[in-house]
C-alpha cells in the first residue's frame, strides 16, 4: 500500500509538488496524469526515495520512506521515464546487481531467466547495456523492477520507447501485478491506455492534485459524461485557476 500525506517538494523557490495526498490500495492501478511540468516525475522520485520531500510523509507498506528507508524500499520497484542504466554492466550483470541490492539472490536465477525470456533479452544477456537500443534499455529497466518481490510499483511513462509487443507485455505485467495484490502508480501521457488500464486516475497541474477518481467519476464531475478521458483531461487542465476543485472526490 502506498500513501502520501501533504507531500511538498521545492526546487529553490519553485514548488514542484504541492501538498500531494494520495492513497493506492493493494490490487489497484492508479494513473498519474498531468501536463508537462505538472510535477509527476518529481512526485514519483520523492516516493521512490530519490528526492527528499521538503515536508509531508510518504508511507510504503506502512514504512516511512525518509525515516525507514530500507524497509520502505524493500517492497518498492521504480521504472523511470528514460532509464539511465549502468552502461558498462552486461544485461545479466545489471539484473544481478539489482537483485544483490534487494538481497533476493535466492530467487534470482529462476526469475532472471523468466524475465529475460519474457522481454526478449535472452540473446542480449551478455551484451553491455551501452550497446542496447532505447527500447531494449526500457525493457531491461522493467525487468530490473520485477527481479525482486515488490508490491508497490512506480512507473514513469513506461510505454515510451517500447515496441507494441513489449508494451502489450508490460500491460499484462501490470494487470498480473495488480491481480497479485500490488499497488501500482503509473505516470503517463497515453490517456487511452490510462482509461483502459487504470482503476483510478489522479490529475496533477502545477504540482497540485486537481482531480481524483475513476474515469466515470471524473466524467461526471467535469460535466463531460460519456466523453473520453482525453476530453475530461483537457477540460480539467486548460484553466487550472477556474477549474472546479475535484480533489476531494
Amino acid at each position: 500500500m502506498l500513501q502520501t500525506f501533504g507531500l511538498v517538494k521545492q526546487y529553490k523557490s519553485f514548488r514542484a509538488v504541492d501538498e500531494l495526498e494520495l492513497t493506492i490500495q493493494p490490487g489497484e492501478i492508479v494513473g498519474l496524469l498531468g501536463p508537462n511540468g505538472a510535477g509527476k516525475t518529481t512526485a514519483l522520485r520523492c516516493i521512490a526515495g530519490i528526492l527528499r520531500p521538503d515536508s509531508g510523509q510518504i508511507l510504503i507498506n506502512g514504512f516511512d520512506v525518509v525515516a525507514d528507508q530500507a524497509k520502505a524500499k524493500a517492497g518498492l520497484a521504480f521504472v523511470p521515464e528514460v532509464p539511465s542504466l549502468y552502461e558498462l554492466l552486461t544485461v545479466d550483470e545489471h539484473l544481478r546487481f539489482v537483485a544483490m541490492c534487494f538481497k533476493t539472490m535466492a530467487t534470482y536465477e529462476a526469475k532472471k531467466d523468466e524475465l529475460l525470456d519474457r522481454y526478449d533479452l535472452t540473446e542480449k544477456r551478455d551484451a553491455l547495456v551501452a550497446t542496447l537500443s532505447k527500447g531494449m534499455k526500457q525493457k531491461l529497466s522493467v525487468a530490473c523492477a520485477l527481479i525482486h518481490d515488490a508490491n508497490v510499483f512506480l512507473f514513469d511513462e513506461p510505454m515510451i520507447g517500447i515496441d507494441p509487443a513489449g508494451a502489450h507485455e508490460l500491460k499484462l505485467e501490470l494487470v498480473r501485478a495488480r491481480n497479485a495484490g500490488a499497488a501500482i502508480l503509473v505516470s503517463t501521457h497515453l490517456l487511452d491506455t490510462a482509461e483502459k488500464l487504470c482503476d483510478r486516475v489522479i490529475i496533477l497541474a502545477r504540482g497540485k492534485k486537481i482531480a481524483e477518481g475513476t474515469v466515470a467519476e471524473l466524467q461526471q464531475l467535469s460535466g463531460f459524461e460519456g466523453r473520453s478521458l482525453e476530453d475530461v483531461f483537457l477540460k480539467l487542465t486548460e484553466e487550472p485557476s477556474g477549474s472546479p476543485d475535484l480533489s476531494h472526490h
Binding site: L51, Q69, M100
Partner: protein
C-alpha cells in the same frame, strides 16, 4: 557493500575489455600512450636536461630542519591547494545511480562510506601521478641527499604516513562541504555562492602573494622565513600538520608526531561526522541538481561548446537574442551556412570576441617589428594563420560534434551528403575569417607597407580556415566516439597531423610563387589549392558522412 563492489569491479573490467577489443579504441589508446611516452619520458634522456638533474652533486652536509620543514611543507601545500580548489564540487553520482541504485534499499550511509573509500583510494594515488610526471627531478632530489639514507627513509616513510591521513581528511571534507552546499534549497544555494567567491578570492590571493613574495626570495633563509609565514600555515593547515609529523619523525620527537597525527585525525573525524549527519540529503542533491552539472562536465570533457550552451539554455541561464542576420532568407544548401552563423554566434561567439584582441595583437606584432617588409609580411601571414588555428580549434570541433549529433535532421535534407559536408565545412570556416580580416586591417593601419601581405591574407586565410575545418571534420568522422577519452586525445593528435598534410601543398605553392610574383597573386594560387583540397575532402567526407550511423 557486496553489490557496490560488484558494480565497481564489473564496470572497470568491462570497460577495460571494451577498450581492448575495439580496434578504434585500441588505436586511440596506443596513440595516447605513445604521445605521453614521447612527451614525458623522452626529455629524461634528452640533452636539454640541466646538468643538475643529470648529475646532481650530493650534499655533504644534512640540510637544517627548518629547510627540510620548508620543502616538505610546500610539497604538501601544493597538493592541499589542488584539494582546496575542488572543494564543494558535487560527489559525482551518475544518472544510473539515481535511476537504479537510489530506489533500492541499500543504505545511503553504506553508499557514502563506499564512495569515501573509493575516492580515498583514488586520492592516495595522486603522488604516483606526480611521480610519473616529475620522476626525473624527484630522482635528482633523491641523489642530492643520498649521503643521508636514514633521514631520507624517515622523511619518505613519515611523509607517506601523513599523506594517508591528509588524503582522507580532504576526501571527508569534500563530502561534508558538498552535501551541505549542493542541496536544492535556497539557503544552500546562497552558501554555495559564498563559498565559490571565497575560494576564488582566496586562490587569487594565494597565487598572487606566493608569486610576488616568491619572486623576491634570494637566499635559503628568506625561503625558510617565507615558508613559515602564518597565513600559509593556517590556510594549508593539513600541510602544516603533515609537516609537523614528518619533522617529528626526523627529529625523533614523539610529541610532534602525535600532534600531527592527532590534528589530522580530528580533521577526519569531524569532517566524517559532518558528512554522515547530512547523508539523507545525498540522493536528493544528486537527483535534483547533479544532472545539470554532470552533463555540463561531460560536455566540457568532450569539448562540446554547443552542448554546454544548450544545457545552459535548458536551465534558463542562456537567453537567445535575435540579430539582423537571423532574418536573412538564404535558400538551398547555403542555408547551412546561415544556420551555422547563428549557432556559432550563440555558442562560441562570446569566446571568439574574447579571442579577437589577442589575434589582433598577434597580427600587430610583425607590423611593429623593425625588419624587411617581406619578412614582416611572412610573419604577418604566420600570425594570422595562428589566429585561424586558435579560433578554429575553439569552435570547429564543437560544430562538427553537433553535425554528427543532428545527423537525423540534416541527412534527410534534399542535398547529397557531399553537398552537406561541403557547406558545413565552409560554414565552420566563417568565424575565424572575420578575425583574420580585422587583424589584417589593423596590421595595415599600423604598418602600411604590409598591405600586399595583408591582401594576401584576406585572399588566402578564409580558405586556410576552411581547410582546417576539413581536417577536423575528416578526423571526427573517422573517430566519432566523442565519449571515449582515448579517442578524444587521439583525435587531437590526428587533427594536427591532418592539418599539416592538408595545408602543406598550398603553403608550399605560396612560398615558392611569392619569390617570383606579387604576394596577392601567390595567395590566389594558395586559395585555389586549398579550395581544391576542400572539394576533395568534401567528396570523401560526404561518403563517410553518408554511411555514418550514430547508433553504431
Amino acid at each position: 557493500m557486496e553489490a557496490l563492489i560488484f558494480l565497481t569491479t564489473r564496470s572497470v573490467i568491462n570497460g577495460v575489455r571494451r577498450a581492448l577489443t575495439s580496434a578504434k579504441r585500441l588505436i586511440g589508446l596506443i596513440g595516447v600512450s605513445i604521445y605521453y611516452f614521447w612527451v614525458i619520458m623522452r626529455p629524461f634522456g634528452a640533452s636539454s636536461q640541466s646538468a643538475f638533474l643529470h648529475h646532481p652533486r650530493a650534499l655533504g652536509q644534512m640540510p637544517s630542519f627548518p629547510v627540510i620543514d620548508s620543502f616538505v611543507f610546500w610539497v604538501f601545500a601544493v597538493v592541499t591547494f589542488f584539494m582546496l580548489l575542488s572543494m564543494g564540487q558535487r560527489s559525482g553520482f551518475r544518472p544510473a545511480d539515481v535511476d537504479v541504485l537510489f530506489p533500492t534499499p541499500t543504505s545511503p550511509r553504506l553508499v557514502l562510506v563506499f564512495r569515501l573509500l573509493r575516492d580515498y583510494l583514488v586520492t592516495l594515488l595522486l603522488p604516483f601521478f606526480f611521480l610519473i610526471l616529475l620522476y626525473r627531478p624527484m630522482a635528482g632530489v633523491g641523489d642530492l641527499v643520498k649521503n643521508f639514507p636514514r633521514e631520507q627513509t624517515l622523511v619518505f616513510r613519515a611523509g607517506f604516513a601523513a599523506w594517508f591521513l591528509v588524503a582522507m581528511s580532504w576526501v571527508c571534507l569534500q563530502y561534508a562541504v558538498s552535501l551541505s552546499i549542493n542541496r536544492s534549497d535556497l539557503r544552500s544555494d546562497k552558501n554555495k555562492k559564498w563559498l565559490s567567491w571565497s575560494l576564488g578570492a582566496l586562490s587569487m590571493a594565494l597565487i598572487g602573494s606566493i608569486a610576488y613574495l616568491g619572486s623576491r626570495i634570494e637566499t635559503m633563509d628568506q625561503f625558510v622565513a617565507f615558508s613559515h609565514m602564518l597565513p600559509y600555515r593556517i590556510v594549508f593547515f593539513t600541510a602544516t600538520l603533515a609537516t609537523t609529523t614528518v619533522l617529528g619523525a626526523l627529529q625523533g620527537n614523539l610529541a610532534m608526531i602525535a600532534l600531527g597525527f592527532t590534528g589530522l585525525g580530528l580533521t577526519i573525524a569531524s569532517a566524517l561526522a559532518l558528512a554522515m549527519r547530512q547523508v539523507d540529503y545525498m540522493y536528493d542533491q544528486a537527483a535534483a541538481q547533479g544532472f545539470g552539472k554532470s552533463a555540463t562536465r561531460a560536455l566540457q570533457r568532450k569539448g562540446d561548446v554547443i552542448g554546454i550552451v544548450a544545457e545552459q539554455a535548458r536551465t534558463g541561464k542562456f537567453k537567445a537574442k535575435s540579430r539582423w542576420f537571423h532574418k536573412l532568407t538564404i535558400p538551398g544548401p547555403q542555408a547551412l551556412v546561415w544556420k551555422e552563423v547563428i549557432v556559432q554566434n550563440r555558442s562560441t561567439g562570446r569566446f571568439m570576441w574574447l579571442l579577437t584582441p589577442f589575434i589582433i595583437l598577434l597580427a600587430v606584432t610583425p607590423a611593429l617589428a623593425p625588419s624587411r617588409a617581406g619578412l614582416s609580411g611572412m610573419l604577418l601571414l604566420f600570425m594570422l594563420g595562428m589566429g585561424v588555428f586558435l579560433s578554429g580549434m575553439a569552435s570547429m570541433q564543437s560544430g562538427f560534434i553537433e553535425l554528427l549529433r543532428r545527423v537525423d535532421l540534416e541527412k534527410p535534407l534534399p542535398f547529397s551528403p557531399a553537398t552537406i559536408v561541403f557547406w558545413e565545412i565552409i560554414a565552420k570556416g566563417f568565424g575565424p575569417t572575420i578575425m583574420v580580416f580585422l587583424g589584417a586591417a589593423v596590421a595595415t593601419a599600423v604598418n602600411p607597407t604590409l598591405w600586399p601581405y595583408a591582401l594576401a591574407s584576406i585572399i588566402a586565410m578564409p580558405t586556410v580556415s576552411v581547410l582546417m575545418a576539413s581536417a577536423i571534420f575528416i578526423v571526427i568522422i573517422l573517430f566519432p566516439d566523442v565519449d571515449d577519452p582515448t579517442q578524444r586525445s587521439f583525435r587531437g593528435l590526428m587533427t594536427l597531423l591532418g592539418l599539416v598534410i592538408l595545408c602543406s601543398p598550398g603553403i608550399g605553392a605560396f612560398v615558392v610563387l611569392s619569390i617570383f610574383v606579387h604576394p596577392a597573386i601567390s595567395a590566389i594560387v594558395w586559395a585555389g589549392v586549398n579550395l581544391g583540397i576542400t572539394v576533395v575532402v568534401s567528396i570523401v567526407g560526404g561518403g563517410l558522412y553518408g554511411g555514418f550511423n550514430p547508433s553504431e
